[in-house]
């Protein structure tokens, strides 16, 4: 099987028009060039407002670049597609659908809900929510909801999975559990993953490479290779050094 999920950012620029008549346009991204290999896990990290979400939304096809382009497996990204799944910080489950129906929405939209019933169940089991099929989102905790959002995206077998601070709203304990679950899922699916995060530790624990970004106009400042063996230990010397390396890039070198 040919590995899929290769991403190319080619001279990417995004300028938002001014919000008011007197305001000036906001340049959120300034000539971003990068490559992501199939199956890689990339963490995007940088100060607030620097354009991380914008980059992710461009990749998802929810925004259009002002200049440059994004290619996924050689195809130009022009509009959203089920091949590029997106998980927001807020789980954004549809409150009027049960857990089962939320997870099954992708298949349903493709007209394959009935055929994929077993698959839907498999993905609910995969994220550990067996028994909650008929519940509505309001009956679930934040962490459980986020796992449903993950299953809802995974069931479409996307080539690329995008996360915008997916665990930002979770407590530290749940977050650590989610990290391991995510890595387990990744072992089985080898989807390319790009995750925006504020948490350096999260980035070092999960990612193969960490993209650091500068404040506006955002450029890709430095790409850090996290070549630590897995499973990674958060208290190992190498791990802590990696964290400090990234913190240094973000804070001190101007």
């Amino acid at each position: 099987m040919v590995a899929t999920g290769q991403i190319t950012f080619n001279n990417l620029r995004k300028v938002f028009p001014p919000r008011t008549e007197t305001g000036s346009p906001v340049e959120a991204l300034h000539h971003v060039n990068a490559e992501v290999q199939p199956g890689e896990f990339i963490a995007l990290i940088g100060p607030s407002g620097c354009g991380k979400s914008t980059l992710l939304r461009l990749l998802a096809g929810l925004e259009h670049p002002s200049q440059g382009k994004i290619l996924v497996d050689g195809d130009l990204v022009e509009r959203p597609s089920r091949e590029r799944g997106l998980v927001f910080q807020d789980p954004t489950l549809y409150p009027w659908l049960t857990i089962e129906q939320n997870v099954g929405l992708g298949p349903k939209l493709a007209g394959e809900y009935r055929e994929k019933r077993d698959l839907i169940q498999q993905f609910i089991d995969l994220v550990g929510l067996k028994g909650f099929e008929k519940n509505y989102p309001y009956e679930l905790s934040g962490g459980m909801q986020q796992r449903v959002a993950l299953a809802r995206t995974l069931i479409n077998y996307p080539k690329v999975l995008l996360f915008d601070e997916p665990f930002g709203a979770l407590d530290a304990f749940t977050r650590i559990k989610m990290h391991d679950e995510l890595l387990k899922i990744r072992e089985r699916t080898d989807i390319t993953m790009v995750m925006v995060t504020h948490d350096v530790e999260e980035a070092v624990y999960l990612a193969d490479r960490v993209f650091t970004m500068t404040p506006r106009p955002a450029i890709l400042k430095k790409i850090v290779n996290v070549n630590l063996p897995r499973p990674r230990r958060r208290d190992s010397q190498a791990f802590i050094e990696k964290k400090e390396e990234i913190l240094d890039i973000l804070n001190f070198t101007a």
């Binding site: 998802a60 096809g61 929810l62 509009r79 959203p80 597609s81 089920r82 590029r84 799944g85 997106l86 927001f88 807020d90 954004t92 549809y94 409150p95 009027w96 659908l97 929405l105 992708g106 349903k108 939209l109 493709a110 509505y136 989102p137 309001y138 009956e139 809802r152 995206t153 479409n156």
Partner: protein
Amino acid sequence: MEKDSVYIKKITRIKDRQIGRAYFASIAIAISLVAQLAIPKSDILITKSLPWYTWLLIIALIITTILATYYIFFGGLEKFVFKSYFIGAAFLALGLYNLVTLKFALIKPIFFPAPETIINVLIVDAGFLLKCLLHSALLLAYGLGIGIITGLATGILIGWYSSWNYWLEPLVKSIGPIPSTAFIPIALSAFATSFQAAVFLIALASWFPITVLTQSGIVNVKKTFFEVADTLGATDFQKIFHVAVPGALPNIFVGIFNGTCGAFLTLMSAEMIGVRYGIGWYINWQREIMSYANVYAGLVVIAVSFSLMIAILFKIRDYVLRWQKGIIKW
């Protein structure tokens, strides 16, 4: 020892029960009944005496007493106990009205018939009242059905497509606020039958609020819901029916409630002005021939059937919007 604690528990449980509140309705009804039986009818009134009001009180007394007693011994029936004060007060008010009319004839008997006379109409005229009611219900069903369908369609079009919004919204905004009763004269001459005219007017009355609330409901659905649908592969059309409409449902139901009330109002007006049948027409006709007991009987029928309809609508809404539990307090 064991037995003792069970016994004590049972005693305190019974003590916890609100005996006074439970029996309040029965006591109030009993008082009304005593007044009805003990006080002689005013000798100004020449109509013959009818047993219906006495019967009503007796039946109500039996039912409320059984319910209250059941509650005292076995619990449950919280809803009845909660309503007991209200039921009692309603019967006291009716009893007072009975005193003012039947017993002492303090107000004009021709305009204010005694309870027993009104009940008499409900019984004697039941068949005809039912026919009128069915006729009105049919009008309402057609009108409201058309109003809901066209309202949803218009609301979706102007809430979702900017081109439809451009052309249709001014029309909606200008026609909508005109009370549909103002169209009665035009409708009566424009349509072949008064039935069609009434259906049109009722549809018009419900169409506007449903349109406006469907539109605002759709416009207010969270943007990220649509973005998620995009990344799950939804087409534009699918986004309407999988995201926009379900997301707008709470608003749509408010629109349907408002629409139903508007439709009802229009129905009554239409019947009083031009349509030659139905419960509104019945009331108007009886008023013209000065039989006010029949007018009141008609009003009772309207009140009961309308509140029944609203209650059913509430049940439907609660079922359809069951996913809102915990999100919104009704």
